[in-house]
C-alpha cells in the first residue's frame, strides 16, 4: 500500500535530508518518491539544489519537496511515519493513504525502453516521470541487513 506525506510548507534541503533519513529507518518502508516543483539547474546556485546524504548514499536533490510518497509493507508503519513527520515538520502535515506510485509497466514504458523493458526490475517502475531517464532520478539505498 502507498501513503503520501503532504507537509503544509515546501521543504528545504536540510529538512528533506533529515526527514528522509528518519523515514529510511522505518522497517516497513519499501520505496520513496520525493515530489515537488523542480529546482533551477545547478548553474543558478539555488541553496536547496545540492547533494543530500541518505544513509550514506548520495542523492542529488532536484526538486523542492512538496510531497513524499511511500510504499509501505504493513499498516503499522503509518504510525512510525507520523512520528517521524511530527519530529521534522513542526508547521504541520497530512498523511493520506491511497495508491500513489505506479506498480505496472505500461505501453509508454514499452515505447521508451523497447526490448530492455524486461530487464527493468519491478521495484524501479513508477519512480520517475516518463520524460526523464531512470538513472538520473532513482537512487537505490541498501539496507544494512540486506548487505
Amino acid at each position: 500500500m502507498d501513503i503520501e506525506i503532504f507537509p503544509h510548507r515546501l521543504l528545504g534541503a536540510d529538512t528533506t535530508e533529515r526527514l528522509l533519513n528518519d523515514l529510511e529507518d522505518i522497517e516497513g518502508v519499501k520505496r520513496m518518491v520525493v515530489h515537488g516543483p523542480r529546482l533551477p539547474p545547478e548553474e543558478a546556485r539555488h541553496p536547496d539544489r545540492r547533494t543530500i546524504k541518505i544513509k550514506g548514499e548520495e542523492v542529488n536533490l532536484q526538486v523542492k519537496t512538496g510531497r513524499v510518497l511511500l510504499e509501505i509493507e504493513t499498516e503499522e508503519a503509518i504510525d512510525d511515519v507520523r512520528e517521524a513527520c511530527e519530529d521534522n515538520l513542526p508547521f504541520g502535515f497530512e498523511v493520506h493513504v491511497g495508491t500513489f506510485i505506479r506498480k505496472q509497466k505500461t505501453v509508454t514504458d514499452n515505447i521508451k525502453y523497447g526490448e530492455d523493458l524486461d530487464k527493468i526490475p519491478d521495484e524501479m517502475v513508477g519512480l520517475t516521470d516518463q520524460s526523464a531517464r531512470l538513472s538520473d532520478r532513482a537512487t537505490i539505498i541498501k539496507r544494512k541487513k540486506e548487505q
Binding site: 507537509p7 503544509h8 510548507r9 515546501l10 528545504g12 529538512t15 516543483p37 543558478a44 523542492k64 512538496g66
Partner: protein, 249 residues
C-alpha cells in the same frame, strides 16, 4: 461617510482601513528613494526622468473647461512616461490582496490606473508619481516581506505553499531570506535583473500579526461565512443584480 466595505470581522475592518484615505497606514520599514528606484528598474538612480511629451505648460492645448478644472499630477505636468509596479500577494494571510489593493489605490492615489488579476495587481501612472506611490506601498502595511512579492513579471507563487521560513515562492528568486539575520533582501529588481547591492526590506511579520492584519477571509483564519453582515450585503447585491438583469417588470 463613504461606505467602503461591509462586515463586522477584523478582516472587514482591515479592508475598510486600506480603502479609507483618512486612515494612516502603519509604517513597517524604511526604504530609501534610491532603493525604490532600483527595485522598480525603470531608470537608473539619479538619472533624469525621460519624457514622452513637452511639459503641459509649453503645450498649446485647445480651450476646454475640463482641462482647466483638473489639476494635472506632477508627472503629467512634466511629461513623464507611464510606468508600473506590480505586487503578488500570497493566499496565506498576506496583508493585502489584489482587489482590495485596486480599491484602495483608487481611493488613495490620484492619476493612477489599477489592474487586477487573480494572482497579481499592477498600478500604472507617471514615473515620478509612481516612485512616490511605490514608496508608500513598500514601506507601509501594504507589504509584508515574506508574503508579498514585488513581481513585475514571472509572478507565479501566490497560491503555492510557502517555504519553511514562511516566504512566498518566487521562480526567479528576486527576494531572499537570510536565516542568520531573519530579514528579506531584494537581490533583483521587479523584472529579475540583478541589483548591484541588495535592498533590505526587513523581517517578515509573524503568523499571529499577519492573521490580525490580513484582508483575506480564510477558513483557518476568519471565515467569510461567519461574517454575517458581509454575507447579507453580498446576497442583497446578488439578488438585485439578478432581478434587475433578468426581467425588470
Amino acid at each position: 461617510m463613504a461606505q467602503f466595505y461591509p462586515g463586522t470581522t477584523k478582516v472587514a475592518q482591515n479592508r475598510r482601513n486600506f480603502c479609507n484615505p483618512d486612515y494612516t497606514l502603519e509604517k513597517l520599514r524604511e526604504v530609501s528613494d534610491e532603493d525604490v528606484v532600483k527595485i522598480l528598474g525603470h531608470r537608473a538612480p539619479g538619472e533624469e526622468y525621460p519624457s514622452v511629451h513637452p511639459p503641459i505648460d509649453e503645450l498649446d492645448e485647445p480651450e476646454d473647461a475640463v482641462r482647466e478644472m483638473v489639476i494635472p499630477i506632477d508627472g503629467a505636468k512634466a511629461g513623464d512616461r507611464v510606468r508600473y509596479i506590480q505586487f503578488s500577494d500570497s493566499m496565506y494571510f498576506a496583508p493585502c490582496h489584489p482587489f482590495i489593493r485596486a480599491r484602495s489605490y483608487l481611493w488613495r492615489f490620484r492619476g493612477a490606473d489599477a489592474g487586477v488579476l487573480s494572482g497579481r495587481q499592477i498600478i500604472e501612472t507617471r514615473e515620478r508619481d509612481l516612485e512616490k506611490y511605490a514608496k508608500t506601498l513598500i514601506e507601509t502595511e501594504y507589504m509584508d516581506a515574506g508574503r508579498t512579492g514585488i513581481k513585475g513579471k514571472t509572478v507565479h507563487g501566490h497560491s503555492l505553499r510557502l517555504d519553511e521560513d514562511g516566504i512566498m515562492f518566487d521562480m526567479i528568486r528576486r527576494f531572499i531570506y537570510d536565516k542568520a539575520s531573519g530579514t528579506v533582501s531584494y537581490v533583483k529588481n521587479q523584472i529579475g535583473e540583478e541589483l548591484d547591492e541588495p535592498v533590505n526590506v526587513g523581517a517578515p511579520l509573524d503568523e499571529a500579526t499577519l492573521k490580525a492584519k490580513t484582508t483575506i477571509y480564510r477558513k483557518d483564519g476568519e471565515a467569510y461565512r461567519d461574517d454575517k453582515d458581509a454575507v447579507e450585503v453580498l446576497h442583497r447585491v446578488h439578488v438585485l443584480r439578478s432581478e434587475g438583469g433578468f426581467c425588470p417588470e
